[in-house]
């Protein structure tokens, strides 16, 4: 399902992530494929527990045990990065792939000044001296909109507000000029009044640098405003992926349709879907066939028996639903 360009920046193919547990292996992500082109913003949405965060963590090699990549491939700039040795992954993280975490209040080391954390990140990846790193860090702090950057350079995290700290986190993610940033709910923990500012900042900075973004969020408003394409996840699978305008205005998968019908007032989380009865199954009780069938208004017998594969429903627009498959479970659309 590579949508854009000959060689995308990131290509995830048939990714499968499992967690070992007492009840056996729980499959958190199953057969997920997508690609991100250079400079592109791909939104990743879905209910809580859909597998968005573990997908992001797998890409930067930060899946915590007992989680592991059990299948599929992750290619970055054409080379496989799943199962890389830890030292090579480390050189990639922060250097080529940056990360923005959800909670800026806990993402920064409380005992180091923000200047020190910036300089340290730069000097780990770039061959520059202390003075040059300081200069770069100050410029970056100004760019992310921190007033009086000179003074803030020596401030400790607790001396900054949540919004300011998230700006610092963004600066840290961009410190070594990565080609891709994975932003996992970058505004969820923030005050509603500053969420839009932070998203706009992230989008502008990445646009200026040609940095691609995997933007994980609950918030359809964020997707509408910032993403080029969007992937919708449900129970560990991508059920629909396509250009933002297509998916938001003409959703195909019944789950996406329900999701769009339940867009809350801008800025609020999609925790429960009003339009769709029931809730997403937990990992150990994902039903056979299409995982969405118990909640689907268009459910047919076939949906209980076989899992639908993604089919093309428009230009660069795919949905995994039997409604759009021309052939039966044993044929491919």
């Amino acid at each position: 399902m590579t949508a854009v360009g000959a060689e995308p920046l990131l290509r995830v193919e048939d990714l499968r992530i499992v967690f070992a547990s007492r009840r056996g292996e729980l499959v958190a992500v199953d057969g997920v494929s997508f690609a991100i082109a250079r400079g592109e913003v791909l939104g990743l949405v879905g209910e809580s527990g859909a597998g968005k965060s573990v997908t992001g963590a797998a890409i930067i090699g930060l899946l915590d045990p007992p989680g592991r990549i059990a299948g599929g491939r992750i290619l970055f700039e054409g080379a496989r990065i799943d199962h890389l040795p830890e030292e090579e992954l480390r050189r990639l993280r922060g250097r080529r792939i940056g990360a923005v975490f959800q909670d800026p209040l806990t993402a920064l080391n409380p005992l180091y000044t923000i200047g020190r954390q910036l300089v340290e990140t730069m000097r780990t990846h770039l061959d520059i001296g202390a003075a040059e790193a300081r200069g770069r860090a100050l410029r970056l702090l100004k760019e992310v909109g921190i007033p009086a950057a000179e003074r803030r350079f020596d401030a400790y995290p607790h001396e900054l507000s949540g919004g300011m700290r998230q700006r610092v986190v963004i600066a840290l993610a961009l410190a070594a000029d990565p080609a891709l940033v994975i932003a996992d709910e970058p505004t969820t923990a923030l005050d509603v009044s500053i969420q839009a500012q932070i998203i706009a900042l992230l989008k502008r900075l990445c646009q200026e640098r040609g940095t691609a973004v995997l933007l994980i969020t609950h918030d359809m408003g964020v997707i509408a405003g910032a993403a080029d394409r969007v992937a919708v996840m449900y129970a560990g699978r991508i059920v629909e992926i396509g250009p933002v305008a297509e998916v938001l205005l003409a959703p195909k998968h019944p789950y996406t349709v329900g999701l769009m019908g339940s867009i809350p007032p801008l800025g609020r989380k999609v925790e429960r879907l009003m339009q769709i009865e029931g809730s997403m199954p937990r990992l150990h009780e994902i039903p056979p066939g299409c995982a969405f069938h118990p909640r689907c208004p268009h459910m047919r017998p076939r949906c209980r028996e076989a899992r639908p594969e993604p089919v093309t429903v428009g230009p660069g627009h795919h949905a995994a639903c039997w409604l759009f498959a021309e052939e039966g479970p044993d044929g491919r659309a």
Binding site: R90, R91, L92, R93, L108
Partner: protein
């Protein structure tokens, strides 16, 4: 900073006054001090005269105040047994106890912290699990037993180390040190190990637990996401955050090393204050007991104060008087 130190100093003073009260009560109400000063044949009138002269008939608070004033000058009167000023006796014994305690504290920290870090980082390693098991043994065997076992093995069977005493000492002014002679250093090994073992295992387990906690935090995860080297993350970011809470408890532990030295000094006949105190208890030598109590309390208070100030210097979140650089958005 100044307000912080002053507040802590006031608290320290309160603690010292309370301990002083206990020491004073000991003085005043355990037995009749006059009996300890005069012989059997002294007449009642003579006793009463002495009582009056020593101020023992004054009101409680007057006596307490006088006791404190004297104590502050280091004057605890005369030992009933040795018939010498208590301050002199203590000053003679102090170096032995302090050298033993500092050696033990240093050992406990220098071994305990690295072992704690190691067992946290290699949680599932065979060696780390071995350390954890040994440490359980270390916590559960009483100190005197460890001392006796050491004496048996290294003193009696192998004859490598002396089993008692301090070895040869060198005088530096009023301070006597065993650290400058070979026999003094050899004599120090077993008592120091004995005294350190319990604290060492405690510090190790504490550091391990705290480090594991820190390694799970968001900022460590984010540090990894930033691609920092694991050396930087473990021994910079994680260790520093681990040591902040560990510092307080460890500080208190060091105080209790000085207090626990009593047992070790008895086992090894180490000529320190602990041994003096045990003898004082046997002989009901109240002035020595009182002085010892107050000195130990003073050590605790000083260590506490130092730890608090260190804590304040290490953790920027406590420095409330820094200009708060709050911004909006």
């Amino acid at each position: 900073m100044l307000a912080f130190v002053l507040r802590r100093l006031a608290q320290a003073l309160l603690v010292m006054l309370t301990v002083g009260l206990i020491a004073f009560a000991l003085f005043r109400y355990v037995g009749d001090p006059i009996n300890n000063l005069v012989g059997q044949e002294t007449s009642l009138a003579e006793r009463e005269a002495l009582r009056e002269r020593l101020g023992l008939n004054d009101p409680f608070f007057v006596q307490y105040a006088r006791f404190l004033a004297n104590a502050a000058r280091g004057d605890f009167g005369f030992s009933y047994i040795y018939r010498r000023p208590v301050a002199e006796l203590i000053a003679e014994r102090l170096p032995a106890t302090l050298e033993l305690s500092f050696a033990a504290a240093l050992l406990a920290l220098l071994v305990g912290i690295p072992m704690g870090v190691y067992t946290a980082l290699r949680r599932r390693g065979v060696l780390a699990q071995g350390f954890m098991m040994v440490s359980l043994v270390g916590v559960s065997i009483p100190t005197f037993l460890i001392g006796i076992l050491l004496i048996l093995v290294f003193g009696v069977l192998l004859r490598w180390l002396p089993t008692f005493g301090r070895g040869e000492v060198v005088e530096l002014g009023w301070w006597t040190t065993g650290l400058l002679t070979v026999s003094g250093l050899k004599a120090l090994i077993m008592p120091a190990v004995t005294l350190a073992l319990f604290q060492m295992t405690l510090i190790m387990r504490l550091v391990r637990a705290e480090m594991l906690e820190v390694l799970r935090t968001d900022y460590i995860r984010f540090a990894r996401a930033r691609g920092l080297k694991s050396r930087t993350i473990h021994f910079g970011h994680a260790l520093k955050n681990t040591l902040v809470p560990v510092m307080t408890i460890t500080g208190l532990q060091l105080g209790s090393i000085i207090a626990f030295a009593i047992i070790t000094e008895s086992v090894f006949q180490w000529p320190g204050m602990g041994l003096l105190f045990v003898q004082a208890i046997n002989e009901v030598d109240i002035p020595v007991m009182a002085a010892y109590l107050m000195l130990i309390a003073l050590f605790f208070v000083i260590i506490n104060l130092v730890v608090d100030i260190l804590y304040y210097l290490v953790d920027p979140r406590l420095r409330a008087d820094r200009a708060v650089a709050h911004g909006h958005g």
